[in-house]
Symmetry: C2
Subunit: 199 residues, 2 copies
């Protein structure tokens, strides 16, 4: 137990350091040596957890998505209406990602140049996992005859697809300066979509 | 007149050759020499029209968008209902782009690695131009009290945003093999959006 907990802590510490160094140096300039120094461990210890800088960057994004999914599950379990929860979940999936990367927005394009193909494959998995959480709420709305019929997971994927262009990956760095604009566009999109889904 | 027409023809011939060579070689391997040879003109003649390979690739995309806008205007002028036209326009904006690049889908990622920042800036302009065409139909629907109130151009931008993640730029090459899946997702998205917009 003690070892597992220490291992998790070191892994998280490396990912925390990644976040800080992406802001400070950007992806290209950041080295495994910098990361080890920032955490206060040896370079070899970093390699116990990750095989490459690419894997570190992708794991850093994985962690953002894991945390997002926890938040989505918490919203899904709220006692508010299905419509309110779906709207809040759509806004959360856009804004949580925004807030997680906004401080290193200038280096996102640079990082993408290196990890785009691997990230695109991962995104398919992220979306499938998010869709499962949304589908539970959609099915609840269908059972109460509040929402139109149809495969809940497929409807969920349509909701995700309709907000995916607002995710940081699709934005130009300069767009990432304007949280208010992203929030407004997401709210408007959610409103139209949820009205369109109502029975 | 004769000169202007000949100039347009050469420019178009270069862009047609670009389309063929992107399929044959991909962006990186394609040279200005290859293009000149493919058109049957001198390298210097290519430079009379374009300053760089990047500009050629971006002009090639500009031309796709110009043709798409013509198609959108034609649909907007049809005698069908506002809802049918909006749905058809949303499907056209996704599928026309798909069909325009599908034959060189394997080299899109490679081309993006070189022109992504410039393309992101251009996309803002493309979307603004498309939104103007959509907004005319939306305003028509609002005047007939068929659609909800709101700034037509802003509603148009929300419709575009909700289908932008289905555009080739956002797809991984392997997704570009499945036209049927993209068409289905676009139809489902359009259906929910247009129902959500109805008054």
């Amino acid at each position: 137990m003690k070892d597992a907990s220490r291992q998790k802590t070191t892994r998280d510490a490396i990912l925390d350091a990644t976040d800080r160094l992406l802001t400070k140096y950007g992806y290209k300039k950041m080295t495994i040596d910098d990361l080890a120094q920032e955490v206060g461990i040896g370079k070899g210890s970093v390699y116990l957890h990750f095989t490459s800088k690419e894997e570190i960057a992708l794991s850093h994004i994985d962690r953002i998505i894991e945390r997002l999914k926890e938040n989505l599950r918490a919203i899904a379990a709220k006692p508010t209406s299905v419509e309110e929860r779906l709207s809040e979940m759509l806004i959360e999936r856009v804004l949580y990602r925004f807030d997680s990367v906004q401080h290193y927005s200038r280096s996102i394009d640079e990082m993408l140049a290196y990890v785009r193909p691997q990230l695109l494959v991962r995104r398919k998995r992220y979306f499938a996992e998010e869709a499962r959480i949304f589908s539970v709420v959609i099915a609840e709305g269908q059972n109460a005859s509040d929402l139109v019929a149809g495969d809940p997971e497929d409807i969920a994927l349509t909701l995700l697809s309709a907000t995916n262009s607002l995710l940081p990956y699709s934005l130009i760095a300069v767009d990432l300066d304007d949280r208010g604009e992203i929030l407004e566009r997401t709210k408007k999109t959610a409103e139209i979509l949820i009205k369109g889904l109502s029975a």
